[in-house]
């Protein structure tokens, strides 16, 4: 069936009702992924059913929620259940890993230096050249040291972003310094975006669900370490990354949600 055939089949209405066979259910689910028109149609049908059923509610349901939280032992203030604290381990680990890489880097430079010393007389020009390289390596090292210092800052909140349906193997990580109002986004675990597409970074609040764009990563392929500093003055409760047409979109395209992660309460 093509998109229009799905829409006029009457299957989508029954999909929302939950009365299709398992096989039909799967057909509709894959049609929704394949055709955005089908997806939109399902969303509209659902919104319609939500509206008419809601019109039949006998009273305000809002007032029931506190009692539900209480029954669940979640009552009172913003008692948000925290994610397991695997973050600290990863910070420590990446810290050590970076330190080891640095140590090797230094060792390499010292060795380089020695060799240069031996060849000094016969290769003055060459030395000049290599010294420049060393200067550059030193700069790089300093840069990496700075980055490491930034990521190790105690104010830094780490938010792992997990891969979502469209690309489950994707991952990313946000390091967020609330006081400084900026984030460092590590997107090494994302595939190169296809031609004409860019990754867009979103700050989300959850109630109500509101996305705020933090910008697009248009230097993804060019950037070597895949870590981007982005300003974030928002009271973020989650971060997400979607794939969007070049230039980005005003709202996230959820079918193209690559990674998503919650800020621990």
């Amino acid at each position: 069936m093509n998109a229009q055939e799905y829409i006029s089949s009457g299957l989508l209405e029954l999909y929302v009702a939950g009365t299709l066979s398992e096989e039909e259910n799967q057909d509709v689910a894959s049609a929704m992924l394949q055709y955005s028109e089908v997806r939109d149609e399902v969303l509209e049908i659902e919104a319609t059913i939500v509206k008419i059923t809601a019109a039949n509610a006998p009273g305000e349901t809002q007032k029931l929620f506190p009692a539900i939280l209480k029954t669940l032992g979640l009552g009172g203030n913003d008692n948000i259940k925290q994610l397991p604290k695997r973050d600290t381990f990863l910070i420590t680990f990446s810290g050590w890993a970076a330190a080891i890489i640095m140590a090797f880097g230094m060792l390499w430079m010292i060795t380089q230096n020695k060799q240069l010393g031996a060849n000094l007389d016969i290769a003055l020009n060459e030395r000049q050249l290599i010294e420049e390289q060393i200067a550059k390596a030193n700069n790089d090292l300093e840069e990496k040291n700075n980055l490491l210092a930034v990521l190790r800052d105690k104010e830094m909140i780490t938010v792992p972003l997990a891969g979502q349906a469209v690309y489950p193997d994707a991952y990313a990580k946000v390091y967020w310094n609330k006081a400084a109002e900026n984030i460092y986004l590590d997107v090494q675990g994302l595939p190169d975006p296809p031609e004409g597409k860019v990754y867009q970074v979103w700050s989300l609040t959850l109630n109500p669900l509101t996305p705020t764009s933090l910008g697009v990563i248009d230097q993804f392929t060019a950037d070597e370490n895949k870590i981007f500093a982005i300003s974030n003055p928002n009271a973020s409760e989650a971060f997400g990354i979607t794939l969007e047409p070049a230039g980005g979109s005003p709202t996230p395209t959820m079918e193209q949600l690559y990674t998503l992660g919650l800020v621990a309460g």
């Binding site: 009365t19 509206k51 059923t53 959850l206 919650l262």
Partner: protein
Amino acid sequence: MELEPLIFAFKEKNVKAFESLYDMYSDSLSGVIYNILKDQEMTEEVMQDVFVKVWHNSDGYDATKGRFFTWILNIARNAAIDKTRSRAYKDAKKNLDADLFVDILSSGDQFDKQTDAIGIRNYLGKLALKCKQIIEAIYFKGYTQKETAELLAIPLGTVKTRNRNCISDLRTILDVQAI
């Protein structure tokens, strides 16, 4: 804006996301439960049970198997039907009338005044009887196509198309209202 981030956060036991989903669907589920029980107090009891269950079973929702709304709608309907089998319900409801949801809707006064709902109720009155019946059966009662066909004494093949046409009418009506 789609739901994925909320569902993700909800499955991670994030209370804000849970509340956000509650705000989106609680009126709807309450409407469905009330349609079965016709009793506000019992509806509120069942509502609590439903959302407690939804929280505990958040892992049970699988996005590849259907919509989140469909999932909780099903939980709510089953909980309401269970309630009809309880002693408390049987004692309270000796003589139930078989009003359609729209008839309950249009008898408006026992409801809190939610402006949206009142508007929708007024417009629903315009829906053809056969549409009220089929929407009632499929969405409020959760009947299968076969059960719906038997209830309305129409051929099985008619259910899908009639339901689609009725939802289309409904969407037109609600759109008109939105303007």
